[in-house]
């Protein structure tokens, strides 16, 4: 059984596009990143999975249950973190967290305390006094305190400082190691490259690619950086050549032997050949279709 499975899932708001024919599979126990620029349809997809909005086409299952028919049971086993968490005014952090537990008819007090401690969240504060980051932490506790099978997190780290991001991902790793599935959306590529095992790219409401992060990175192209040499003129498969800090850098998609032969002829002072970083891979996907 997959944790999430969508088939040609579509959502239109009147004529305005939400998402179009998104088919996505997230294995149980996976750590899945959902990447796209703002307005690409990440939140729309997530809101469909949670039953906040209803699909105009296609279907989807979460934890083997149909999103349109078993919404409540799905929500029982899911922890959701909205991208902009808002809470009822006039309440203290601990009241909000307790309210969330009561709405789930569960006693999560011990787990909530542990989470607040690890996230350094003062639970006696009033929610309207909280900074963006602290509001996010309240959302994280509400999403995690009942130890769900599936975490659906919409831009989870926006507003968190780098140390807190580390702690947050450490928490997610632990839950993931215990068997829970993590599905998070982000437009920070390095974050996804670092923590996720699988990723999907969405742009203009359509899924562009979905695969393991390793394979997405391994597109066959290499990033080549040369010092003290000009570009190999006759070599085929060179793209995106530019000067950077006195060095020449380009993407190479041809045969390695030809590259080495060309480099030998150029005799550079220094050479680096590496996999392109995720950013470059996704920039490549983002840029597609612009032409």
């Amino acid at each position: 059984m997959e944790a999430i499975r969508t088939e040609a899932l579509s959502k239109y708001y009147g004529k305005a596009r939400g998402i179009t024919d998104v088919s996505l599979t997230v294995e149980q126990g996976g750590f899945y990143g959902f990447i796209g620029p703002n307005g690409a349809g990440k939140s729309t997809t997530i809101r469909l999975l949670l039953g906040l909005i209803s699909a105009t086409g296609g279907r989807a299952e979460v934890l083997g249950m149909d999103i349109s028919r078993e919404r409540t049971r799905i929500l029982e086993k899911t922890g959701y973190l909205p991208s902009e968490a808002a809470f009822y005014g006039g309440m203290r952090v601990r009241d909000i967290i307790a309210l969330s537990a009561r709405l789930r008819k569960k006693d999560c007090a011990a787990e909530a305390r542990r989470l607040c401690e690890r996230l350094e969240l003062d639970d006696s504060r009033r929610v309207e006094e909280l900074s963006l980051g602290n509001r996010k932490k309240v959302g994280i506790v509400c999403a995690m305190q009942h130890r769900p099978e599936l975490y659906i997190l919409d831009e989870p780290t926006s507003g968190l400082d780098p140390l807190m991001q580390q702690e947050f991902y450490a928490l997610l790793r632990e839950r993931n190691a215990e068997g829970a599935t993590v599905f998070l959306s982000s437009h920070v590529l390095s974050e996804v490259a670092r923590w996720c095992t699988h990723a999907a790219v969405i742009r203009d409401g359509r899924l562009l690619a979905a695969d393991s992060v390793e394979r997405l990175l391994h597109t066959g192209a290499k990033r080549v950086t040369l010092r003290g040499a000009s570009a190999p003129a006759e070599l085929e498969g060179v793209r995106d050549a530019r000067e950077e800090n006195g060095a020449l850098t380009f993407l190479y998609g041809g045969k390695p032997a030809e590259l080495l032969a060309a480099l030998a002829a150029l005799a550079p002072e220094d050479v680096t050949i590496s996999d392109p970083d995720l950013e470059e891979v996704f920039m490549h996907y983002y840029a597609k279709g612009d032409a």
Binding site: R47, I53, P82, A85, A86, Y88, G89, S100, R102, R104
Partner: protein
Amino acid sequence: MTVFFHELRRNRLSLAVWAAAIAFMLGISVLIYPQMTAQMAEINEVFADMGSFTAAFGMDKVSFGEFGGYFSIECGNVLGLGGALFAAILGISALAREEREHTAEFLYTHPLTRTRIVGEKLAAVLAQIVLLNLAVAAVALLSMRVIGESAEAKPLLLLFLAYLLMQAELAAITFGVSAFLRSGGMGLGIGAAIMLYFLNIIANITEKAAFLKLITPFGYTDGADIMSSGRLEIKYLAVGLLLAATGVAAAFLKYGKKDI
């Protein structure tokens, strides 16, 4: 019942302020009655002789000189209009408020059916209306004790019952309307309450507009009518209950599959 109690908690301040304000106004109206009666002989004639204005507030049907008549008209103005505004604001904001304050994402991603949330919110609205009316009635009765006046028990009870039903009807209708709104609606709620209030006044002024009493819940809560006839007008009440049921049904149907 978590949502129900959460709603009551969330609204407790607003409920307390509305109840206190309405009870205070009505209490004062009762307490000044003895002074009014002193000059009542003249006042009564004046009030009974202002033509349309007299009819508008039902002062042609009851005597301002009797406490019961005085109270029914004051009650109509204070508890009638005040309670209607309270009920309309409560009803219109119950559902729409979650979206306006962006708490909908929090509430609706917990494992509760939409029907359950709507049901508990509706119950909370009705409970608040009952609480408000109990508080206001208690203060009114206490004030009557203080000045040593009393009205006939049955019409008095009917009067309070009528206001309770009227507020419940208004709340149910605005509750239904609020299911279709994304934000705001406050103005709509207040506007609807005031408009319905004036429809009844128009119906009182001219016979030709009497049918308006069918539309407005103020039709069956006209204090002067109740005091003079000693009963509720079932015809008007039935229409009101029908409208209320429509509002509630609309809320459940619409909210069950609304995009949030």
